[in-house]
């Protein structure tokens, strides 16, 4: 912990640096323009701050201190500072229409494990319905003793729970299955968010309706234009599924299912049906479109896995990353997120040489089951190239696999559940590129 990293394989890293210089296809001019002095080898890198004549800098009196600012409730609902650029972004060529598409969370800009509601990634199959909560109903029926229709007021009368849990699209990283594609953390890992969710446990609602003995599956259905539907086994429902109306201290955002959604902690995001209007208890799964045609994992032999619910342990370094290059030589805290759909993160390791040698990192802050977990490693960077990797281990003992291990099992066509170790190539000038080692 906290030790200074010395390149253990200087020859290797030199070779990597040489190779990186010859990278094809990268437009590196833009990255070299910004006043960054690149110095070869292990010499120190210095960034010369642009000469600034700002009258706000010491020893001058800043202009914002010389007069009164706006008073209370100048903004009844606050927003980020005007200098911040926190926003969801999408990859327009990915999908054909915005109403059935996905945007990504700006992981590179997040502080701590809670994703602000306004930048939680979006995934819609038929756009965002504008649901009036007074006219919204949840019907629970099928193999039950007492079919019920519940208003939002009814739901809030039940004993509630609040849990911090991640939610992740199973296609997170899917663009990288066959090769490195995305030159930004937001696009390689941004179909991911972690919020505090408030609602009633589904087991509480099921006790209220009384599930009949042959009830084994639950169809969850949304009130959106896609009528989004997924089959959930009763075991999950009785374990930790929550029917959610609150997110990060306020009502759910429309993008996340206002006024009511399901949350299946640790499971692929689209099982957590948004704008939830109906739960039907049955004795078999329904095999609907989003669990047959989509969200099944095609294997190299042409067969496919179904009901691939769990999001296995995964991790990524968020600083540095392509959007947040190293700008200064000397001390650096390498930071990142790890998460596992099977429980708590037990440890995260880090490699500077593409996975040849590994060091233990420190977990910091809250370490919660099925939640983003922060890791940290303190070291010194003096302009040496790195092939940075992180490797998560969860409480079941599962070790995040290498890309090669995943491809050996699953080929390159399964789209979903790519949780392999990710590589950032840190260049001598501090720029960071997405690469794959095979």
């Amino acid at each position: 912990m906290g030790k200074i990293y010395e390149p253990s394989l200087p020859k290797l890293m030199e070779a990597i640096a040489t190779e990186a210089r010859g990278m094809k296809g990268l437009d590196r001019r833009n990255f070299l323009k910004g006043g960054i002095a690149a110095v070869a080898g292990l010499a120190s890198v210095q960034i010369i701050p642009k000469a600034s004549a700002s009258p706000n800098l010491p020893p001058n009196l800043p202009k914002w201190q010389s007069h009164l600012g706006p008073g209370v409730v100048s903004k009844p609902y606050g927003e980020p500072a005007e200098f911040e650029d926190l926003q969801r972004r999408t990859v327009p060529w990915l999908t054909v229409d915005a109403a059935s598409s996905i945007s990504m969370t700006p992981l590179q800009d997040l502080e701590g494990i809670i994703t602000p509601s306004g930048v939680v990634f979006e995934r819609y199959h038929g756009g965002i319905p504008n649901v009036n909560p007074e006219q919204h109903r949840l019907i629970i029926h099928g193999l039950v003793e007492r079919p019920l229709v519940l208003t939002m007021d009814d739901l809030r009368r039940f004993p509630s729970v609040s849990e911090i849990r991640f939610i992740e699209c199973p296609a997170n990283g899917g663009m990288e299955w066959r090769g490195a594609q995305m030159e930004a953390l937001q696009f390689t890992h941004g179909m991911l968010a972690c919020c505090e969710w408030t609602g009633v446990k589904l087991s509480t609602l099921l006790a209220e309706v009384g599930v009949k003995p042959d009830g084994k599956w639950i169809l969850a259905e949304g009130a959106d234009a896609a009528g989004m539907s997924r089959s959930i086994p009763l075991e999950k429902a009785l374990d930790d599924t929550i029917i959610v109306w609150g997110q990060n201290g306020e009502a759910l955002r429309p993008e996340q299912g206002y006024p009511l959604r399901m949350l299946n902690p640790g499971w692929e995001g689209n099982t957590s049906v948004k704008w939830l209007r109906r739960l039907e208890i049955g004795d078999q799964p329904w095999h609907h479109r989003e669990e047959t045609s989509k969200y099944t994992d095609l294997m190299p032999d042409g067969r496919a896995r179904r009901f691939t619910w769990v999001q296995e342990a995964n991790s990524v370094i968020t600083s540095p990353c392509p959007e947040k290059p190293l700008k200064q030589s000397g001390f650096v805290e390498i930071r990142g997120f790890a998460w596992s759909g099977r429980g708590k993160i037990k440890a995260v390791d880090i490699s500077f040489d593409g996975g040849v040698n590994w060091e233990r990192t420190e977990l910091k802050g809250l370490v919660l089951p099925k939640a983003l977990t922060q890791f940290s490693y303190r070291t010194t960077w003096n302009g040496q190239p790195w092939l940075l990797q992180s490797r998560a281990i969860d409480e079941t003992g599962y070790v995040q696999p290498t890309l090669k291990q995943l491809r050996d099992e699953r080929g390159g066509w399964s789209i979903y559940h790519k949780n392999s170790i990710h590589t950032w190539n840190v260049m001598e000038n501090g720029d960071v590129f997405n690469v794959q080692i095979s």
């Binding site: 926003q87 038929g126 019907i139 079919p147 509480t204 209220e208 049955g282 609907h288 070790v399 699953r410």
Partner: protein, 327 residues
Amino acid sequence: MFRFLRLIPLVLVMTFSVIVSAGPLGIGSVATPEMIAGWDIDVRPDGTGLPDGVGSVAEGEGLYEAKCASCHGLFGEGEGRWPVLAGGEGTLDTLHPEKTVGSYWPYASTLWDYIHRAMPYTAPQSLTDDETYSISAYVLYLNDIVDDEFVANRETFARVKMPNEENFYVDNRPDSKNERCFENCADPKAFEIVTTINGLTPTGHFKEDSGVAANHYDGNPSAASESGISKVKNDTKIVLSDKANLGKGVYDMACQACHNPGIAGAPKTGDKAAWVSRIDQGMDVLNGHAINGYQGADGVMPAKGGNMSLSNDDVINAVAFMVELSR
């Protein structure tokens, strides 16, 4: 009289709550069979949920061409990048797998369920049960799973067997086993470092001086963030008429799916060259085509964009919106 009538439902609800024993917490109201019937739309592989009704391949052909072909192609080949519905047999274990209804979907019931709940894309749950049977039958026919004589109803449809059904199996992960090794865990001499392909990533938000807005992709105007037309508006500072302003909401709901990307021969909104000859025909002709549908050498326009719940005025306003942005 009016007051008296309003009391009746209350009395009914109270009667129900007396008859049906309450749950442990006694929260909520009885979901009546009528309520459930309206929302219980799901269909399962064993045929549970399939309603009465009937539809043939022959009837499905016309319906498909009017309501589906503009996105999915006349033969299920997919227009632009909309889903391909037919073909792809024998490709699943190749380097270019094509997952279609025929090559991949394990159950025919899924087709009925999905078409009924979510299609046409711009007008979900607008098809009747008979129409759903017909279109489902036709899509099966496009995949050579039924012949052209096939007539779908609850019994015949539940008997349809899909060719790829046996090739699905339940998740068997964890499948890869990594070790928590710390030293000499890989052979650096065997490393092959693969870099990204230039131009795929929207990087305007972190490349200095790139001049590309954050969520645009390399300045491609069709890739604008929202409705795809914001760029056009910004460039030309068009002031929309009241009619066109009313039409914008309709456009976003029913028209943009085809008119933003310009698929199925639909002229792209804002593409003056594509619109000029159309606008020259006069608004009456354009409105007529939009309301009643149009099929010509250059493309297919489903009546009201496939959303028959739109009024004629809605459609006329949306046409005004597109025309004003495109001349």
